[in-house]
Amino acid sequence: MPPIDGSDGLKAMIEDLVNKNRVMIFSKSACPYCLKAKDLFKSINVEYHAVELDKLDNGPAIQDTLQAMTGQRTVPNTFINGKHLGGYDSTLKAKENKTLEVMLDGESYDYDLVVIGGGSGGLACAKEAVKHGVKVACLDFVKPSPQGTTWGLGGTCVNVGCIPKKLMHQASILGHSIEDAKSYGWELKDEKVKHNWETMKNAIQDHIGSLNWNYRVELRSKEVTYQNSYGEFIDKHKIKCTNKRGKVQEMTSRYFILAMGGRPRYPDIPGCKEYCITSDDLFSLPYAPGKTLCIGASYVSLECAGFLTSLGFDVTVMVRSILLRGFDQQMAEEIGKYMADHGTKFIRPCVPVKIERLEEGQPGRYRVTGKMQDGTEVVDEYNTIVVAVGRDPCTKGIGLDTVGVDVDPKTGFVLASDGEQTSCPNIYAIGDVLKGRPELTPVAIQAGRLLAKRLFTSATLKCDYVNVPTTVFTPLEYGAIGMPEEVAIDKFGQGDIEVYHSHFLPLEWTLPHREENVCYAKLICVKSLKEKVIGLHVLGPNAGEITQGFTIGIKLGATKADFDNAIGIHPTCAEIFTTMNITKNSGVDISVSGC
């Protein structure tokens, strides 16, 4: 119990010391932790005032009063700029996670970090940051799509991206496997196996629901403040948060991280926003889509067209010019050819002009008018139209201009340094909002984690955006690391590039007699760099699984000789990379046959 007698007086005395001294340490002269605390401040050239309680008659009474005021009885008991910090451990931690600087500056914010956007990057960053003992909040708010679709915590990947897309891809692969199964002796009673869209959709949405829930539980357990509200900047340290009931709250923070991701873009043509859906709606569509048009040649468009075709729908893709801009064009055309051979129709080169509704319903019926490059008009009817012509970053209307965060004036992508710092020094950006970085979940996660470590520890490692592997999950998957062939030629010159390539036939395809010359692999090497491999491309089943493992080799600078030296695993598809000996230049035939 604090002494009743004079404790008010002591309290006033303590408050006076605390207010007058930027760093105030209540200490004992022989206490080793007190010495350490003082040394810590000396080491950063910060003056402190110390009162040695063991040298004072009323020392024990002061200690009692301190306990009543701060809940801490032990020494050292340190205050900075009038705020209680704690003992030596707290001081050391504050130094390590860099919150001591803020206290010494006399700044005081509600949070050390507010992350705007609870997607792949934002969640990873918030969870990493709290590990270092700082106060973190994460805002996530989903504006409904024009069709009214919304979803829970986790961002694009979990709700309307990678996760549902890969599961629908798997549904389509299983369809092929059922076909193949007959050649392996499985006697399927009902020759006509049917697919039920609703069953698949519900199972996928259930899984997503459990992920949404687990993220919320995780944030709560890790003590990240989560708010289901929309963030807009008021000034560079203050944000306005509006929840779905319109309730407004303000938060201040030392740092902000922009992790708002992107949303599908709609072409500006009549009827598009009213009648078309996007990937934001497709994966939770309550009814089977029926005859479908996918507009665009992005990977999202081709992936959706691919699984919808395999699930048995009549699917057409409308393509303005090239497929998969930014990807290796030989591979892109091979994908298109395989899809066309397997029932997906392509209208090309063609742009949509207008969309009209003929009939409401689930699905409804729509007329799409397109214009071919040569001016001819094409008109057809569809039940569902999916637009996938690209995505725009969610950087508009949230006050980035007020706080001086520079964005690309044309596209809205945030401009940032290689350490993800924007033109407003306390605001950083990660993931899909960033200009010129791969828009992929693992990239957003890696950037978010490393950034949190750099902000709140002495770590310096930055995210390496080079040689990021990726896979397009079309029915025949396409995996790639490094440069597309045309980029490599551009950079090094045709004469310095050697491309090794080969078709391959997965063993599993032989019994069902699937086609022979569609799976394909190539290695792009630079002759003058001892045939260093700067691009690896593979088209075939499980290309994602194949590509991931090779990433380490490519990042370590593997040469063609290193690939030759590696021993394959037989019988696999990936082993093709250990035995490639035909160069494109040689013109030697690379076709394979099954016998």
């Binding site: 899984h207 459990s210 829930w213 919320r216």
Partner: protein
């Protein structure tokens, strides 16, 4: 209004759930008491906290307290609580919203904030 129902065993639990399928149904799976004593300390901690949280709910809600049997029955990996595809319980206590992918396990059930979050409307 919250109605609280106490049941023992898998079959009773499923029957009660079916009877109330038009309401919001929450279930707390907990150790059965043997001679008035619980064999699961986490359950003992969680029960009063869950009870306190549900007493604050006002909408059409049914709350089922389900005893999963004695320790020996529960530990058997082939007991229906663990195997039924609608439940697939891994531990007690487990608190879940029936038909939704929301659940809390073990000491999460004793965290007032998490329990309140689970009881929130979707």
């Amino acid at each position: 209004m919250v109605r609280q129902i106490v049941v023992e065993g898998f079959d009773n639990c499923m029957r009660t759930t079916e009877e109330n399928k038009n309401s919001n149904v929450y279930i707390l799976f907990s150790s059965s008491k043997v001679n008035g004593k619980s064999w699961c300390p986490d359950c003992v901690v969680a029960e009063p906290i869950v009870e306190e949280c549900i007493s604050k709910k006002s909408d059409d809600t049914v709350f089922i307290f389900c005893g999963v049997g004695d320790r020996e029955f529960w530990k058997n990996a082939s007991n229906p609580f663990r195997t039924d595809s609608r439940l697939k319980l891994k531990s007690v206590p487990t608190l879940l919203k029936w038909g939704k992918p929301k659940r809390l396990e073990e000491n999460q059930c004793a965290d007032k904030e998490l329990v309140a979050m689970l009881l929130e409307e979707d």
